[in-house]
Amino acid sequence: MTSTLTISHLTKAFGGVKALSDVSLAVEPGERVALLGHNGAGKSTLMKVILGLIAPDGGEISVCGAAPGKARSKVAYLPENAAFHSALTGLEQITYYMRLRGEAASGAMELLDRVGLGHAAKRRIGTYSKGMRQRVGLAQALIGHPRLLVLDEPTSGLDPVSRRDFYELLDGLAADGASILLSSHALTEVEARTDRLLILSGGRMVAEGSLPELRREAALPVSMQITALNGYDTDIMAALPDAIRLNGGLHLSCTQEDKLATLARISAMQEKVADLEVIPPSLEDIYSHFSRRDGQ
């Protein structure tokens, strides 16, 4: 089976600003890929190039076997901060989009129900909250059976419950073979719900892989927080020369490989230790490790 989306050596500059430099990636059918990056990393630009809204300066792109913008009936898009005409009702807006895709408009109400907007379908979009507008955007991206969904910060403005519902929707679509490319600026949001992560930084692809792969590659130190029994902290510090005093306790960091050996040394001093906490590198730590901009 061929990839739904392949990009090789894509470059795009706005004036002097390099928004994308030599970006290559592929998304397979049924795969959920998260595109991560700080503000201005180039996520939205990459998506607009894929959709054919912006012409690239160089590189090759194939979307569902065609050039960008040439396979529009197979591609769905959710723009960042999805906007709609405030005078239309949710139902009218979705009906319009269904007709443009050649779908029977009778399914519009069902679609709005699917994203939890059934109760507000006949109200003007001007009266919707940001989260509700985001759901209208989501509903329109589900119209027809898109082979590729390009979702720009789809969960921004959604509360945690809606966010979970959203990822459940995605699971269903991916199970049907649709490819999903979604962007976010927070790794914590997408971690467990995507198959692969891509990290963009300053227009460059700086990391790619599943979360365990990235965790291994980043090789960030593990922190340990030791609370000594009364008076024993100097003994412990003598035994662990790397430890420093922090917030009234002892703080120690070590590499993944040294983790077990260090733990063994601490447990050898059992009678002097009141408590021990092992803190693995957080998702944000891993993310900022990769997305640090050059020179920082």
Partner: protein, 274 residues
């Protein structure tokens, strides 16, 4: 294709209805037509024409201002509004051609304009015929005024779309639309008149002036309707050389202008980067 154009037209009609444009357009046309027909049904007798033809002549002078204004008011937001709201990028990722989007908007806006024109002229005709049943002989002139008004409106709707695409901001598009309306409908004639007076029957009056009248869709509209009812001199105020322009030339201008303005609109819209 047809389904996508119709879907766009229906959506635009919803928007126009909610934004009260339908109401505003109809109210403007009806109120001004009422005022004119009230004034026009005072006995004139001078032209030997029926009362309805006299009303049609004054409606022509009114429509030259009002129809382009209503058309521009409905159309200046069409593209700039989508750009400013941020709805255009999403729309352009749908399997719909840009010209289909414009065609859908045109369909809706023209339909609203037709409703307004028919309501306005209809009221004027009803009042006039009620006052003087012999006025039915002027119905031909009224019909001519109606379809040419629709074409004039379509021309200015197209111009509105083109300006809207060029401006890309709603405020800019509104400014351009007002400026263009003033220029083409008001200042253009004043300028020509001044030039004709200064020229005093020279080359400008005989050669440039007729061409200049035909080149302006609003002037061609007025010329066609007044020439067709042999009232040029009476109501145009320009008289003279205008009377010598054959009917087919102003007709041609009226027929070609909508095509030109819509082609310009499509070209300008194609250049808009979302």
């Amino acid at each position: 294709m047809i389904a996508r154009i119709l879907a766009t037209a229906v959506t635009e009609a919803h928007i126009a209805r909610r934004n009260r444009w339908v109401l505003i357009a109809v109210a403007l046309m009806v109120v001004f037509s009422l005022v004119l027909s009230a004034a026009g049904s005072a006995p004139t007798g001078a032209l030997g024409a029926d009362r309805l033809s006299v009303v049609v002549a004054s409606l022509t002078s009114l429509s030259v201002y009002l129809v382009p204004l209503v058309a521009l008011l409905m159309s200046f937001d069409a593209v700039a509004g989508e750009v400013e709201r941020g709805t255009l990028p999403l729309l352009l990722t749908y399997p719909v051609a840009r010209w289909e989007v414009l065609a859908g908007k045109l369909l809706a806006h023209t339909a609203i304009l037709i409703v307004a024109i028919v309501a306005g002229y209809g009221v004027a005709a009803a009042i006039t015929i009620a006052a003087d049943p012999a006025a039915v002989s002027g119905l031909g002139a009224l019909w001519r005024l109606t379809w040419t008004s629709v074409l004039l409106g379509a021309t200015f709707i197209g111009i509105g779309y083109a300006l809207s695409s060029l401006a890309r901001r709603v405020s800019g598009a509104a400014g351009l639309a007002i400026g263009l309306w003033l220029g083409l409908v008001v200042l253009y004639d004043l300028g020509l008149l001044a030039a004709v007076v200064a020229d005093d029957g020279g080359f400008f009056t005989t050669d440039v002036f007729p061409a200049a009248l035909l080149a302006n869709p609003a002037d061609a509209f007025r010329l066609f309707n007044l020439t067709a009812s042999q009232a040029t001199a009476a109501a145009s105020g320009v008289g003279g050389a205008a009377a010598t322009i054959p009917l087919w030339q102003s007709l041609l201008s009226i027929l070609i202008w909508p095509l030109v303005s819509l082609a310009l609109a499509a070209l300008a819209f194609r250049k808009v980067e979302p």
